[in-house]
Structure formats: C-alpha cells, structure tokens
Symmetry: C2
Subunit: 250 residues, 2 copies
DNA sequence: GCGATTGAACAACAGTGATGTGCGAAACTC
DNA sequence: GAGTTTCGCACATCACTGTTGTTCAATCGC
C-alpha cells in the first residue's frame, strides 16, 4: 500500500492526526509527511492545520481516483481482459469512468474500435492510438476523477448510438440495481446505458456488497456483468442471474 | 534543434534519405536513427522503406504538433503572457488549439476563469487546476494535434457564449483574414469566434506572411492581435490596424 | 515573546528513459 | 539460392528526473 493511501486511511480513521504520529506510523521523515499532506490536501482528501491534518472524506463518498488507481490491480486487469474480449472489432463503445474501465481502455488501444470514454483518463490512454476512432464527449471534468459530466456530456451521448456500453459502477445488487456515489455521474451513466444496444458492467467483487447514494438503473437493464468473484447467498443464488443478467467471472 | 526535427527537415528537403546518411548527419548511431524514423513514421511525418525513409510532409500542411511544440518558445511565451494579461478574472474563455494557445493555457492554470480549450493538450494542462472551471468540448481529436473537431465540437460551442475567444491561426493577413490548414479546424475556429463577444488572435510573426488553405474569418472580426513582431509595408502600414484591429506587440 | 512548526534549499538516491553495441533473423539483390 | 545488407531484439551504459532526507531561517500560534 502506498504511503499516501496509508496516511489518508489513518487520518480518516482517527479523524485527525499529527505530523509526528504519521511519521512514526509510516517510517518516513516529517518533511515527507508534510509534502504528502500537501498533495492530499490539494486532492481534497484532508485539511491541513498547523501540526497535523484532519480528514475530509465523507462516509458517502469514495476515495479520490489517485488513491484507487493502484488498488486491486490484478482483479481489475482480469476483469478488463474479459470485457475487452467481449468487444468485437468494428464495434462502437461508450466507456465509463473509473479505474476498471481505464484498464479496459488500455486494452483497446491497439484494437479497431470506436470509443467514447467518459473520463479524461481514458481519453488520454487512447489519444495516441492510430487504430481507435476516438470520440470525446463534452462536459465538465470532475477534479481527480476527470469524469465528464453535465449537460454537454449528456448531449454528446444523446446524439449517438453505440453497440456497447461498458459501465463501471460504485455499487451493484439485484435489489437496488446499479448505484453511483455522484448524482451527476449517475445521470451520465444512465444516459450512456440508454444510448447503447448492449450493456456490460465491469465490477470488482467489493462493489457487489455495496450500495451507493444515487440510483442509475435496475439490474435488469444490464446484459452482462463481469466480476472477479461472485457473491452468492445461502442458496447459491447471486441474485443477478435470476434477473436475466449473464454473470461472467474473470 | 532536436534530432527528430533535424531528421524530419532533412528528409523533407531531400525527398528521401538513407539511414546511414542520417546517422552521419546527426552524429547518432544507425540504431537510434531507426528508432527515430519509427516514431516519425507513427506521427505520419514520413514513410519507412528498407534502408531509409521518404517524406510525407505536403507543402500545404503543417508539421505535426510534437515537432512544433519546442520551436520559437520564447516568442510564444511572450505572446501568451500578453494574451493572459488581456483576460480578466471571472471571464469565460474559449481557447483554440495550437502551441501558442497551449502556452496561454499554462498561464491560466492558477487564474479564476472559465476555459473551454479546443485541444486535449490544453485540457490536460488545465485539468489539475482547482481554480479554473474547465469545460471540455466534445469532438474527434485529430492525431498529434489533438484538436477537437467535428459535429460534437461545433455543437458544444454553439451551446455556449463566451466573453473571449483566443484564436491561434495558421495564417493571418489583412487581405485574406484568418486562415487554417485544416478544413475541420477552420469551421471549429469560425464557430468559436461566433460564440464569443471578444476575439483575440495569438499569432507569431511567421504567420503574418503566410496564408493557409481554409478561410476562417475576415480580419475585421478580430478585436485584437497579439504578435511578437509587426510586419509593415513600405508605408509602415501593417494592414490590420486599418481594419480596426488593435495590434499588440509582445 | 517563545517555542514548535513550516517551507525552501541543497545533497543523496533510486527509477526511468535514451543511446549504443552485438547478434541472430529477415529481406533484398543478383 | 547464395551473399549481402538491413532490421529489430536484448542487454549494458549513461544521463536525467523525481523522491526522500537534512539543515536552517522564517513564520505561526499560544
């Protein structure tokens, strides 16, 4: 685990912590801790005060992109590989924001497909490709995440029809369907789903036990879910298969 | 001058050149030349054949972004500084593609302004800013340049009204007005100009003696031109002042 | 006012990217 | 089809960038 993540979690759990304590915890010098706190403050993770920092992470929100990106990389790569395999050459794909979808973007780099990514991270991953037809949606990038939102994003999606939507959500269950932490994100995802013929959700197992604030779409609007480990109840039922969703384990 | 640029110019001037000749010219090893030719071929600058490469640069087109970016940096910085000074806090700005406008983007990073850049390079320069309200237009990024074009870009621009448009064109003269090398680009620039109350052209002196293929707008549609050196005729007339354009020398 | 904290400057260090060399494989020439 | 040239991969080397730690003067809070 990176030191940045370690600090962010320690501060979140304690509410607030001093520089000296964090230095002792991580084994780094106080100067390094100060520099780390500076970048975390710039990301909005915490707030500096003289001698330490207090957490700004709310329970309902998710940790910022930079801290999630190198987390669970194996599972994400495996999920992304399966998703990329489900996409045929020549298809047009709308690709959601999030770290799992970013891995999918990387795998599509040398494929002959048309892609509209909903985050600038994926746009950058694909902008050097000569085989991908890249379409950038408009919108306001959310800080850190760089997910494009707002009326311009919705208008871009509504103007087009895609073969496949790859959605990476914050929560998924048979009961509550797809959910997201951010309201703006939720409406972008909803619009993306509506403009695609086929919908694939790329979801690591931790999301299957979680429900986030904003409702995106019912589970029945998904055609397939790709995940790394299926969560089943006592009867061996994942709840999704019954809703007509093909569940693929990577 | 970078070796890449040196190679690209040598091949352009000779039409085609061998690897050994380029190695002798640049003083680098043949292996290095091969690697360079590979990246230039990927950029569409030239075409490899066994033993050498031939130029693909047409007279009517401009050299790719990567080769222009570290060229004339001083003049671009000075022009950009003046342009940034003409923009007031709180303004909304549409920022054209090109290397000069990218410098403007960098100077706007810590300002309180709303910016819609027309190239992904400038988007990336601004996406880490917390003070800038960043708006991304939709569109298809042109390879290398990463300028956003096409119907999505036009729609994004038409949906908004800006205080100021900063335009970096390929050619400018009192007689032919603003001109651009690319037809798609030209219509994006034209739309940007139409959706802004005030139009500033950021143009280094080399563009003032050049006219490109596609007409963008007459010189009279500009409010100000910022350049590094004014070109005047025998009577000391730059031709633009007479058209009601304020010419500022950086 | 005093002590703790901070941020800037400098040095050491590791990680990354660029370059050159050697060699086997592929391609072109005759 | 044989010989020669060219190519690209693998590895070693090198410079450079970014990270970390140390020191010290300035600053902040009590």
């Amino acid at each position: 685990m990176s030191r940045l993540k370690q600090i962010s979690e320690a501060v979140r759990d304690a509410g607030s912590l001093g520089v000296a304590e964090l230095a002792a915890l991580t084994g780094a010098s106080e100067m390094t801790i100060r520099r780390d706190l500076e970048v975390l403050a710039a990301q909005g993770v915490l707030e500096r005060y003289r001698g330490g920092a207090r957490s700004l992470l709310l329970r309902g929100s998710e940790p910022p992109f930079a801290l999630r990106s190198d987390e669970n990389t194996d599972a994400k790569r495996r999920i992304a590989a399966v998703v990329a395999g489900l996409i045929a050459d020549g298809e047009s794909v709308v690709l959601d924001s999030g770290t799992t979808c970013l891995e999918v973007a990387r795998l599509l780099h040398d494929r002959r497909v048309t892609v509209m990514p909903l985050s600038l991270h994926s746009v950058n991953a694909l902008s050097s490709s000569s085989s991908v037809t890249l379409l950038v949606p408009g919108g306001r990038p959310r800080p850190g995440e760089l997910a494009l939102t707002g009326p311009l994003a919705l208008a871009s999606l509504q103007a087009l029809r895609f073969d496949t939507a790859v959605i990476g959500c914050c929560g998924l269950s048979a009961e509550h369907g797809l959910t997201a932490f951010d309201l703006e994100d939720a409406s972008v995802k909803r619009t993306a789903i509506a403009s695609a013929r086929r919908v694939i959700a790329a979801v690591d197992a931790s999301k299957l036990t979680r429900t986030a604030l904003a409702h995106v779409a019912p589970a029945s609007s998904l055609d397939a879910v790709v995940t790394d480990a299926v969560v089943t109840d006592a009867a061996g039922d994942d709840g999704l298969t019954a809703a007509g969703v093909a569940v693929v384990t990577a």
